[in-house]
Symmetry: C2
């Protein structure tokens, strides 16, 4: 399928039933939501809705190979290969891993960090490439924008924050991808899928649009293009109005808020952009967060992390999800020998990306979908995974909405089989796992 793309023919929204989501920063939630709500009444409210082709077109960028006296792509790729990660089982793994940096702007020293997991050696050389934004088949994990995780920019003023710099973040990710494909040329013609979750509800479609626009220009110039096949976003933050309204409706309908607080929000908050917000509304939203108390917003039914010490009984199996795993991950990624093995520059790695810090509910996603008014191809139906209803799906024209039943925000952690079967269907071009009895 070289030189063709079918963007939007399988736009798969993976949203969870349970997971209230807020980006990937666990900072104070009330403050961040206030900030978000207030930001929309300020004069500098982010405007990310309108993109022109000119916004997305990148006429010129530095190929990594064209930057001064640097090693060849082949040498760089070899250097990126991970020999072994500290703590990895001694018998190794049956797949190759790479990690390192791709420069997106040598002038200000902006490099994006990636982690790449290749399919097992004996699997097909035609397996597609999946790019995962926002955090973690052949899966290429990209920490984006610069300033997030191990990705950095030497010039601080050039740090790109998502609320002000969605377009810059998309351009950086595009340049990263072109340069990364130079380093891994065997993937240049491979089918590529772009995925992500939470604020990637912005990143993913914006990067896809950037690819589509640049592909158009490059086709005219008879240049090679990126073989983009589809995008998938999970629990996506799509827009502020549906996101915030959906969040508070979710809290009430899941019995986490009182009738009184919900009624105040219904009456006094309209969540429309650029409207002044009443103090009654602000107080009511504060109450909404206070009332639900300290629960895991990623999975409202999950236990909290009370004891961060590693227990000997822990198997580490994904089937026994440990609510403290975030803490272990953060500790692990900050060990110097781990950073060295990953070819990352020594830094303080943290879960917090500092961007839009609020939760994304299935309710919000449905409100956002309704705004699109897409024609329905296949109405609401349950899809199956291992004999159980794995979730529900609606096939719209050019887009599939799918839920994962009983999953928190980190879908593969809570429902590994359902997540695997759903992503497999997505990569195979099915709207949902095939063969589901109806």
């Amino acid at each position: 399928m070289k030189n063709t793309f079918a963007l939007c023919s399988y736009l798969l929204l993976l949203v969870t039933l349970l997971g209230l989501v807020f980006s990937n920063c666990k900072a104070n939630q009330v403050d961040n939501l206030d900030e978000l709500i207030n930001s929309r009444s300020s004069e500098n409210a982010p405007k990310t809705l309108s993109w022109t082709k000119e916004d997305a077109y990148i006429p010129k960028y530095y190929h990594t190979s064209s930057i001064g006296p640097s090693p060849s792509q082949e040498e760089q790729k070899l250097a990126d290969k991970i020999t072994a990660l500290p703590g990895q089982p001694y018998y190794g793994s049956n797949f190759d891993q790479y990690a390192g940096y791709v420069t997106v702007d040598p002038n200000v020293g902006r490099d994006l960090f990636y982690y790449f997991v290749e399919s097992p050696a004996n699997s097909s050389q035609y397996n597609p490439l999946v790019l995962w934004l926002n955090g973690v088949a052949n899966v290429l994990f990209l920490e984006s924008p610069a300033g997030v995780g191990f990705s950095y920019t030497q010039n601080d003023s050039q740090t790109f924050f998502p609320t002000s710099g969605d377009k810059a973040a998309a351009k950086d990710a595009y340049v990263f991808l072109v340069n990364w494909l130079d380093r891994f040329p065997e993937y240049k013609d491979r089918e590529i899928y772009i995925t992500g979750e939470s604020y990637a509800g912005h990143y993913v479609p914006q990067l896809a649009y950037t690819i589509v626009v640049n592909n158009l220009f490059r086709q005219i110039a008879n240049q090679s293009v990126i073989n983009l096949q589809g995008i998938a976003i999970g629990n996506p933050w799509v827009d502020d109005f549906t996101g915030v309204k959906g969040l508070f409706d979710y809290l009430w309908t899941h019995a986490l808020n009182s009738d009184q607080t919900h009624e105040l929000i219904e009456t006094y908050c309209d969540f429309k952009p650029h409207q002044p917000i009443s103090s009654i509304c602000i107080n009511a939203t504060r109450n909404a967060f206070a009332e639900k108390g300290p629960i895991d917003s990623y999975n409202i039914y999950a236990p909290l992390c009370h004891d961060t010490s590693l227990k000997p009984s822990q198997t580490g199996s994904v089937y026994n999800f440990d609510p403290c795993s975030d803490v272990y991950v953060q500790a692990y990624l900050n060990r110097p020998e781990v950073q060295e093995a990953l070819h990352a520059k020594p830094t303080q790695w943290s879960h917090c990306s500092g961007d839009v810090d609020s939760r994304v509910s299935v309710t919000a996603t449905r409100y956002a979908l309704n705004v699109l008014k897409l024609p329905i191809v296949t109405p609401w139906y349950p899809w199956y995974s291992e004999n159980e209803i794995g979730g529900y799906a609606v096939q719209y024209k050019g887009l599939v909405f799918a839920t994962v039943r009983g999953a928190g925000h980190m879908v593969p952690s809570w429902q590994p089989e359902r997540a695997f079967n759903l992503i497999l269907a997505f990569l195979s071009g099915y709207p949902s796992p095939p063969g589901s009895p109806k």
Copy 2:
């Protein structure tokens, strides 16, 4: 607290966050709901809302001891004692169990079956008595009305169905209780709590009202009264309007129904009693059940029972809830030696009580509570159990509404610690487990 009662000072509604509930019959749900909806538009719609003192007053009933040549109460109690249940661990249990029949109408041969678990021998002789209706501290499980479980009536036309015979069921339960207390006289002055779930939303308050009314008459006549202290109902079916509306709102807000079906229900169903129901509404409610597909309505996130054979790896621990446990229970209770050990007449025991077969959601309970317009004493707050939020509570004047976070219908099966701490608080007179940090 002899000769006093404080009914309604601790009316505790235990409702789950997750459990869609329908009575205790797992028959075809769509048919039953249709039946319920249609029944309200018929001329013979059940009228259970108005009770007068005359309805509840029972001037004369047969004491078991006054029925012909029967064994003495002491002899009957001894006969009811369960020596051992088949499959019970060989070292026995540290508590006593009794089971048997109490006659409520010797003329038509109507006997109610009970199963009674006494607190461990070394615990206080002042431990209260808890009566559990609808199925299973000192806990007295009563299968009511006659025709349910092992309870029976010899005259079939005298079988009391709940939709037509709520008052008769309450009178039978009252007569049962008086006669049972004759058989277990050490409990006559003990504090008594009446509990139950699902359709017990009718049974429990109606029995409580019957007790209160008869206590009043008996106090005037200087006779002993039943020491009723409080009632608790879990996932109660309170009334049709809030129950059915709450059910469909729950299905939609928990992403089990499509937007389209929900909108049809919102527009074309008003669920008001004695209104003709449009065919659009009936079709839409059919769709609502079809769309959610075959999931466990008792816990929408739980697995289904696929393999009913007992696996050797099963520990039987309540912490590893087995979705097939209903099947084992049914098989166990139909073993002749078990029926014999329980002093039950040989019969085909089944989960199905044949009464109102629809689910009760937390949404429905809140709608029902709002109808009461009770003043709030303590507004919405989280209550704690073992360091986690166990659920939320609102203390109204004379009534507490409490949720159990992450529990399905059978609350103790899914959240044993939370259920235990909540019922302990209820019996201690607290609105929720004390010492919860706020």
